[in-house]
């Protein structure tokens, strides 16, 4: 009741302003009349009575103001007035306004960009209902109970059968498959999944159905995007056959568009095709990743207790083959961003520094402005403005500044967000998440930016407003303001120093990484991958024959100097390692990367032979097994002997399909070491050389191989010709990952480059802002002392003395800033440690260099105003004020 009446009356006061004012005037006049009449009755003359009544009432305007402020509408009015006045003030100082708004725009815009990353990567939920109940399960192995990615299929089945705390459990794995039959052959990213996998995720197919336990192995489910791209959104696709690996599969379903599943957080692209997992009964064969949906109301701890009980029982029941000692959980939402969340928080921390510097800068600008507006404030106080009223006015101005800064910042972010998305390092969980969640400027980001603007207006506005609302009455207050300015400057210096050190460390890491000697020549090297269809190339002989022909054709091309093939291409993060045994009087065993290569592989790559001989064409399927090892393997296992001529036992993977599933075995073979090659970086640029064993592919055939071509010229123009040449051998085999080796190297550096680019950008902005801040403080100091400078110069002070005078007053704050920045950097660069390569987080040379850079920036920024001080005409300076 009251509320409505008050609102109506308030609105009337706002919109019927003239009428309300007239009534108020009338009422007050009536009051005065009545009061005067009353006094006349007690014997005063009319004039005396009128005057007395007026004196009693005091200022009519003040009374009216009191009446007006009794209603809520007065708040609206004053806010409106404050806004208009604030806009006028900002427009009157376009230089100040532009600098402050741009400064804030950089801070708020940068933060909005990183927040959009955070939003896409961490805040937006997975597209599965009740995804908080989805967990990844990891078997814990060995004495130290190390968690491993994959579990054995047999374990998974036992967990699934025995668990009560999970509503359902499912398993999946990654694969890539050759799709043929329509248009060009294509290698597609696939996931193998168990029946009920999608039900566990909480997803039902948009068309058709999901896998059932009575399905054959030859059924497939398509992703929405793949169905759209490859099959033109064919509404009748369910029930139709498609050809994978040379075999016919029946499409049973198509997934809804929002489901983009990846068999691994950084598998790129998301899986296009889903086929059933082929069971592997061996308990020591880890082939599946396990996913579970907790039953409603069950806690993670209850489930853990149950699952560990199950694991213990299994370990007891199968003491020879069971390897899982326990089970660990991780929420699926955390699993899919492993690695990315650390990066995002790191970047958010870095950009928060930029925002803080921006706020400190604007606070400093406002402090200087406040000094210039002292007169205005004094007049306002004199005519009766309360301190609160002035404070409110000034904070409104701050809010206006922050608002316009925020608006420009959002515009900047709108432009920069897609840019960040484009430089995100491929094959990272960050990249996957950005692709799945779609990075863009959405309402969440906009809302956050608005909130940030308000927050920063408080951050930079309160101190100067507080200060200005109480004009300096004493020199003590004035010097305190000087301290405030110096302190803010020191803060800026410290924060930007931390960012600069971070950027410096990343820069050094990247340089070191790209300087790494990979052990072979990366330039003019074209690489690609071919995976043979299982059905068509079922025997080792057929596989070897295919690669023989392809290599012959490629080597005959005029632009190709030499051609080779290898199972795991260096610098691609791929490696198949396996154990071997050293027989003899002192038996031993070890682990090495197993590679099948062609005879020309080392020559093509430019890997020098150190000892013995290379693999030759004559090392065929019918001759004894031979191998070449790298220097690391020789050094590690035969430190005092020459391994050439020694024999080792290697194990070959043999898979046999039966009705019960695929039986996997490792069969031992004797192999003679015939040569030693020098080390190369196999896994990646930052991975030190490991033992590697190379065997001729005729003796050690593989279905999936990479081709390497040493070419005379720029490799990219050759690509279509090479493809055509390969398809001459078999038009059904897709050629994938056609890249130059330099592209692989660039990809290796992409992750660190991404961090460097962003932190480097933030550090540069921070350095510029800090320089502007130092400049501002120095020139303010100079203006304050113009009179003094004039006197000194009139008395014969030399220019250097004047420059020093100005420099000196900032020096102590600068030193404090640098010291604080160094302490901060030492404390914080630890967070960078996992991104650094062969640089310690406290690398002294980087720290020293950055301090020099910061000093140079500071010296330059304060030298300009100091130099200007010496240009002051003593006469003008003396008349100043």
């Amino acid at each position: 009741m009251f509320r409505i009446r008050s609102v109506v009356a308030g609105l009337r006061a706002l919109f019927r302003k003239r009428q309300v004012e007239r009534e108020m005037d009338e009422e007050l006049r009536d009051y005065l009349d009545a009061a005067a009449k009353d006094k006349m009755r007690s014997g005063m003359s009319r004039e005396e009575a009128t005057r007395a009544a007026r004196v009693e009432m005091g200022s009519v305007d003040a009374v009216k103001e009191e009446i007006r402020s009794a209603g809520w509408e007065s708040t609206v009015e004053t806010t409106w007035q404050d806004l208009r006045f604030g806009l006028r003030v900002l427009r009157r100082n376009p230089g100040f306004t532009a600098v402050a708004a741009l400064t804030l725009a950089l801070g708020i815009g940068g933060t909005a960009v990183v927040f959009s990353l955070l939003d896409a990567v961490l805040l937006r939920p997975l597209p599965y209902p009740h995804s908080e109940r989805l967990f990844r399960l990891f078997p814990l192995e060995g004495k130290r109970k190390r968690g491993v990615e994959q579990a054995s299929y047999a374990d998974f089945r036992d967990w699934q059968r025995q668990s009560r705390t999970f509503e359902s459990l499912a398993a999946y794995g990654g694969d890539s498959l050759n799709l043929t039959g329509t248009a060009e052959p294509e290698r597609v990213q696939a996931s193998t999944v168990t029946p009920g996998f999608f039900a566990t995720l909480g997803v039902s197919p948009a068309m058709g159905r999901e896998f059932r336990s009575d399905d054959t192995e030859s059924v497939a489910i398509l992703s929405y995007a793949f169905w759209k791209r490859r099959f033109g959104s064919d509404a009748g696709i369910v029930g139709k056959p498609i050809h994978l690996e040379g075999r016919a599969y029946t499409v049973v379903g198509v997934l809804p568009s929002q489901v983009r599943f990846r068999s691994h957080p950084w598998a790129t692209p998301a899986s296009d095709i889903f086929v059933p997992v082929v069971p592997t009964p061996a308990r020591n064969w880890h082939s599946v990743r396990v996913l579970g949906r907790l039953a409603p109301g069950v806690s993670k701890e209850q489930a853990l207790a149950e699952m560990n009980g199950i694991a213990a029982r299994l370990a007891q029941a199968y003491p020879d083959s069971e390897q899982a000692q326990g089970i660990a959980f991780q929420p699926l939402a955390q699993y899919v961003v492993s690695g990315a969340n650390q990066t995002v928080w790191l970047l958010l921390g870095a950009v928060a520094f930029v925002l803080l510097i921006a706020c400190a800068n604007v606070a400093n600008l406002l402090l200087s402005q406040g000094a210039a507006r002292e007169r205005e404030m004094a007049i306002r106080t004199a005519v009766g403005a309360s301190r609160g009223r002035i404070l409110r006015q000034l904070l409104t101005e701050s809010l206006l500044l922050a608002g316009s800064g925020g608006a420009i910042g959002v515009a900047l972010a709108y432009w920069a967000i897609p840019l960040v998305g484009r430089i995100a390092p491929p094959f990272s969980s960050l990249f996957s998440r950005l692709e799945d969640a779609q990075l863009h400027l959405n309402w969440t980001v906009l809302g956050f930016s608005a909130l940030l603007s308000v927050l920063s207006s408080v951050l930079f506005g309160v101190l100067p407003a507080w200060k200005a609302a109480r004009p300096a009455q004493s020199t003590l207050a004035a010097s305190r303001a000087g301290g405030m300015r110096g302190g803010l400057m020191a803060l800026e210096v410290a924060l930007s120093l931390v960012l600069l050190v971070g950027a410096g460390l990343m820069m050094k890491s990247l340089i070191r990484l790209l300087e790494v000697d990979v052990g072979f020549r990366t330039e003019h090297l074209l690489t690609m991958q071919v995976s043979l269809s299982e059905a068509k190339y079922s025997t080792p002989e057929k596989q070897a024959a295919y690669f023989d022909q392809v290599l012959q054709r490629l080597a005959a091309m005029p632009a190709v100097l030499s051609a080779g093939t290898v199972t795991d291409l260096p610098l691609t993060r791929n490696e198949t390692s396996n154990g071997f045994e050293i027989p003899g009087p002192h038996p031993g065993q070890g682990t090495a990367g197993y590679h099948a290569v062609s005879a020309g592989y080392f020559r093509t790559m430019g890997i020098p032979l150190l000892n013995g001989r290379e693999l030759e064409i004559g090392d065929s399927a019918n001759s004894p097994l031979v191998g070449v090892i790298n220097r690391s393997m020789a050094g590690k296992y035969w430190p005092a002997e020459n391994p050439v001529g020694k024999t080792i036992v290697v194990y070959r993977y043999v898979a046999e399909r039966t009705s019960a599933g695929t039986h996997v075995q490792f069969k031992p073979h004797m192999l003679e070491i015939v040569g030693i090659v020098s080390d190369i970086r196999q896994l990646g640029l930052d991975a030190p050389p490991d033992p590697e064993l190379f065997m001729p592919y005729d003796q050690w055939p593989a279905q999936e191989m990479s081709l390497v071509l040493r070419v005379g010229a720029e490799p990219s123009w050759l690509i279509p010709r090479v493809e055509k040449e390969i398809w001459r051998v078999d038009p059904d085999q897709p050629v994938t990952d056609i890249k130059t080796m330099d592209e692989w190297v660039a990809r290796e550096a992409a992750g660190r480059q991404f961090i460097l680019l962003l932190i480097g950008a933030f550090a540069s902005i921070a350095a510029v802002l800090a320089a502007v801040g130092i400049y501002g403080v120095a020139s303010y100091g100079m203006r304050q002392r113009t009179h003094e400078i004039g006197v000194r110069m009139a008395l014969g002070a030399r220019r250097q003395q004047i420059v020093w005078l100005i420099l000196r007053q900032n020096l102590s704050w600068l030193v404090i800033g640098i010291a604080a920045g160094l302490a901060g950097a030492i404390a914080l660069t630890r967070l960078l440690a996992s991104y650094l390569y062969s640089v310690r987080p406290t690398d002294p040379s980087t720290f020293a260099l950055i301090v020099l850079v910061q000093l140079a920036i500071a010296a330059l920024a304060s030298f300009v105003p100091a130099h200007r001080a010496t240009k002051v005409d003593p006469m003008v300076a003396l008349r100043y004020e």
């Binding site: 009446r5 009422e27 009061a35 009432m57």
Partner: protein, 113 residues
């Protein structure tokens, strides 16, 4: 005689009380409060009119324009039903508080013993 400051928050109550008899205009109310309190309380327009505004918004008093003898109009305030209820409640509350305060003030202090 020196006028006293009003006890905080009592002005509203006094206005309601003065209007309980008959509708009055602004000066009339001020005069009535001064007269009844024998000049102890003098209300200045700076607090009187904002109080009217408050009470009006709360719905306790209602303004009414009435013609005056010299052909002008004056704003008279009258108590609403809601205002009468409020006055009753405030009067009771005031009585309770007054009794309590009086008891406290009358309690013997150490210096009186």
């Amino acid at each position: 005689m020196k006028s006293s400051e009003l006890v905080q928050g009592t002005l509203d109550m006094l206005i309601l009380k003065t209007l309980a008899l008959e509708p009055l205009h602004g000066y009339g109310i001020a005069l009535r409060i001064e007269q009844i309190s024998k000049g102890v309380f003098r209300v200045n327009p700076g607090s009187l009119f904002p109080a009217f505004r408050r009470l009006e918004r709360a719905g306790w008093i209602k303004p009414e324009w009435r013609p005056t003898e010299n052909n002008r109009r004056a704003k008279f305030y009258q108590l609403t039903t809601l205002g009468r209820k409020q006055l009753k409640a405030e009067t009771e509350e005031w009585g309770r508080q007054l009794a309590a305060i009086t008891r406290i003030m009358r309690a013997p202090a150490i210096s009186d013993l």
